[in-house]
């Protein structure tokens, strides 16, 4: 784990879970897997607190445990999983676009709570939705359950591994830590629950003018006493599936930019058809015949089979090489070249960074060296049509930032510099890694700046919160307009302005974190895909 990653993890843990969890988490990330007592000893926290912190981390899938020989249980933190916390807003937004508000809330609840049972999720989400609906309307459990089932069917949520039911449970002392298993086919199996009910509105005390609340409260507790039908079956969000979706989105938008809308729709259809059949790390999707694609096109698109064939041929011939033709049966078998697509996207990211940082002439040199693989200084000048002095300057600048590297080819055994060829080359994998590291540090910087800004204006924020609380309470007890005005004026106009600026800045920094995370996603997917093929 690099220093930048550790810093970022520590910031994220602190923001989401607090100081103690952060201390334990960072210690585990730094030192690898450790048993419980060692953690307590090294971090100087009491055993009790360490246990609680580990509970939180395990609940959120950030720490895993393993039983080693001699019965010692060791805990290991998963740094990459911690970094996924940055992507939660994107997951929730995706669920919203696919399954509207219900889906959004389900995924949000699952992400915030780590693991939950289905009934708990459904109840909570129904309650939340009822809050936002108009008076008198409530959200039915059935609707929420339906959305949940759909999420499970498309593999966006999955069951957590369970303790296996052992027949010989009393054959010896139970192991110090259970080994959780789950079989492939059970992972998306939704238990048959009959959740009947409606969402309950959380009544604030002002509206309970009558004795209603008292009547409702005993009913509430009575509900809780009923046994939860699916106890022990916990669900979590399947992040890999979301990643697959993001990757598909990126490929489709790339095709749309390079070609036109119809081509991108065709590619989207192809990807959708291979969602379940292809594993997320395969370099190619399964071959799809042109007839199948024609049948699966979305209903609104009525293009003829002939036109579809033409589009497929064009896609296969395009220099981008996202789509390849793998055979001729069934009207032509086509595959999507996932590894190549990720490579092109990662390369485009690198080029975009070079262009923005150094200028478009540098970008020209960079692309030139990328395409021609190895070039001498003189050749670079000739091909790029840039004067020699400037070309040299730009090459050295990129070299110092490690986007380009030198390959030496000696002519004589003594490697004399005057008799060696020096060739410029781009190593995409190492450049991607370097850029990824920079992204992590950038996000850490952005988070720090956001915290700094908030801390700077802490006094003002507290004041505004107090004023809001006072206004709310006064409104409840039915105060007059004049009194409300007076309270509101406690916050002066420049202070209000300051608050506005603060809110705007914090939002901007937040949005920027998410944007940098998009870059991280592309680079990480490319690196992962390349490492798997090696």
């Amino acid at each position: 784990m690099t220093q930048a990653e550790i810093k970022l993890c520590s910031l994220l843990l602190q923001e989401h879970f607090g100081e103690i969890v952060e201390k334990i988490g960072v210690h585990l990330i730094r030192t690898g897997s450790q048993p419980l007592r060692v953690i307590a000893h090294d971090t100087g926290t009491s055993l009790d607190q360490v246990k609680k912190a580990l509970c939180v981390l395990i609940q959120h899938n950030l720490v895993i445990y393993q039983v080693h020989k001699r019965g010692v249980v060791e805990y290991e933190a998963q740094c990459s999983r911690v970094l996924r916390m940055l992507r939660y807003p994107r997951y929730i937004y995706t669920a919203k676009t696919l399954y509207s508000d219900t889906g959004e809330l389900i995924v949000e609840e699952l992400l915030l709570n780590g693991k939950m049972t289905m009934s708990a999720v459904v109840k909570k989400v129904a309650d939340r939705l009822t809050e936002t609906m108009e008076d008198g309307k409530t959200m039915d459990y059935a609707e929420v359950s339906n959305t949940f089932v759909r999420l499970a069917d498309t593999h966006f949520v999955q069951r957590c591994p369970l303790v296996p039911a052992t027949e010989n449970s009393d054959s010896g002392p139970p192991p110090p830590a259970p080994t959780l298993v789950i079989s492939e086919k059970d992972m998306y199996l939704v238990p048959k629950l009959s959740l009947i009910g409606k969402g309950k509105r959380r009544r604030s005390s002002e509206e309970d003018a009558t004795g209603e609340p008292k009547a409702k409260r005993p009913k509430h507790t009575a509900d809780n006493k009923e046994p939860i039908p699916d106890d022990g079956i916990y669900w979590q969000a399947d992040l890999d599936r979301f990643h697959q979706h993001f990757r598909d989105q990126a490929i489709v938008s790339a095709v749309a930019n390079r070609m036109d809308q119809t081509s991108s729709e065709i590619v989207r259809t192809m990807l959708r058809m291979s969602e379940i059949t292809t594993s997320s790390s395969a370099p190619f999707t399964q071959p799809l015949s042109s007839n199948e694609i024609f049948r699966s096109l979305p209903v609104g698109y009525n293009i003829s089979k002939q036109v579809l064939d033409q589009y497929l041929t064009l896609l296969a011939d395009d220099p981008l090489e996202f789509v390849g033709k793998s055979g001729d049966s069934g009207g032509g078998m086509y595959v999507i070249n996932l590894h190549k697509a990720l490579g092109s996207l990662a390369t485009a990211t690198l080029e975009s960074v070079v262009q923005e940082r150094f200028g478009s002439r540098c970008a020209r040199i960079f692309r030139l060296v990328l395409q021609k693989k190895h070039l001498e200084q003189k050749q670079v000048e000739d091909f790029a049509m840039i004067p020699a002095k400037e070309a040299k300057d730009m090459l050295y600048k990129m070299l110092s930032e490690n986007f380009i590297s030198l390959q030496e080819i000696p002519k004589t055994p003594d490697h004399a510099p005057s008799r060696t060829f020096y060739l410029y080359t781009v190593n995409i994998l190492s450049a991607a890694r370097m850029l990824l590291h920079r992204c992590y540090k950038s996000i850490a910087n952005l988070i720090e700046r956001r915290q700094f800004e908030t801390k700077e204006n802490k006094r003002l924020l507290e004041k505004s919160q107090r004023v809001e609380a006072i206004i709310a309470s006064m409104q409840a007890t039915g105060a007059e307009e004049a009194q409300l005005q007076e309270i509101e004026e406690m916050i002066t106009a420049p202070e209000r302005q300051q608050l506005e600026t603060l809110k705007r800045n914090v939002n901007k920094l937040d949005a920027s974190e998410i944007q940098v995370d998009e870059t991280i996603f592309l680079l990480e997917s490319y690196i992962e895909s390349t490492m798997k093929r090696q």
Binding site: R258, V307, P387, A388, E448, R449
Partner: protein
């Protein structure tokens, strides 16, 4: 075989006479005569006198010394062979052999010219001599120095009346050893605009996709014709020049190229294939990292919390937030 005029000569030892006779002999035998023939012709002259005469003729440049498989041949230098050398020799009859040698080497280099160090290697003369000779020759307007574009300090020498080769002067992109960046930029933009408009018209025609794509392509010949008609270039540009410009557009990521097989004889085809170019859009918008100030920060490596440069007091961030 021509009739040999047998002259009975009085045994005179006049060197000039001997030389003249040798010249006459050579003229009779344009392919060259061996020593034996001269001996037969003038048997009364001693070998030494003969040698002196022949040497004199050689040094005056009227005879050529050649080696054949039978022995040495002496051949008269006729006016066609001699050419500039005889002209040169007529100018500087008394100069050294060294200068002649240097001149010979430069002449052999043709229109690419030769560097002074290479002249030194070939002639094995010391540097000081070479420099003196070169200065001499230059002042006599027999050779000239041309600056090479590759290394601006390097001067190559070539004969006075020769045109320097393209590789030395750089061709169409260089005027007086200066790379014409603006010219290249202007051509770049013009080509791109041409390809862009072609792609747009193709896209708007809304026919079936095959035709749309094919009509958005332009061959290098078409672009060449367009640029020639535009008339923005005062220098005559060839199709290869246009192709180098189009290649820079490819490296800019704005244009893509395919090669198709074309029938020999269709306009613009070279060796049975044609290059087609098409304007394209980038596949991703500017990436997320560069939208944050950290992505473009020049002091990124020095930035850490608590230091001089830190996220809390970053001036770039402050400016960016006010935007």
């Amino acid at each position: 075989m021509a009739e040999v005029k047998v002259k009975v000569q009085p045994p005179d030892a006049d060197p000039v006479e001997i030389e003249n006779r040798i010249i006459e002999l050579c003229q009779q035998f344009p392919h060259g005569i061996t020593d034996q023939v001269i001996q037969n012709e003038m048997p009364h002259i001693e070998a030494q006198q003969r040698a002196v005469a022949i040497n004199r003729l050689l040094s005056m440049g009227q005879l050529d010394l050649l080696r054949s498989n039978t022995g040495l041949l002496y051949r008269i230098k006729d006016s066609q062979n001699a050419g500039p050398v005889s002209f040169f020799l007529s100018k500087m009859k008394g100069s050294d052999n060294q200068e002649k040698l240097v001149y010979q080497i430069i002449e052999d280099a043709g229109n690419k010219g030769i560097w002074s160090r290479d002249i030194r290697y070939k002639s094995n003369l010391p540097l000081t001599e070479i420099n003196k000779i070169l200065k001499n020759l230059e002042s006599k307007k027999l050779i000239k120095a041309v600056k090479s574009v590759a290394a601006s300090k390097k001067k190559v020498y070539m004969l006075y009346n020769l045109q320097p080769d393209r590789s030395v002067t750089g061709g169409a992109w260089y005027s007086d050893q200066d790379f014409e960046s603006e010219f290249v930029e202007v051509l770049n933009q013009q080509c791109f605009k041409f390809l862009q408009t072609k792609a747009e018209t193709a896209r708007e025609s809304k026919q079936n996709p095959m035709i749309q794509r094919n009509s958005s392509f332009a061959s290098s010949h078409e672009v060449w014709k367009y640029i020639c008609e535009l008339g923005i270039s005062k220098v005559e540009l060839s199709m290869e020049d246009i192709e180098t410009i189009l290649n820079t557009l490819i490296y800019d990521g704005k244009v893509e190229m395919t090669i198709i097989a074309a029938k020999e004889g269709t306009v613009g085809s070279v060796d049975g294939h044609m290059k087609l170019y098409r304007a394209v859009n980038p596949i991703i918008p500017p990436t997320g990292l560069v939208r944050a100030p950290c992505g473009l920060c020049p002091v990124f490596d020095d930035c850490h919390e608590g230091g001089e440069i830190s996220p809390s007091n970053c001036i770039y961030m402050t400016e960016w937030l006010e935007f």
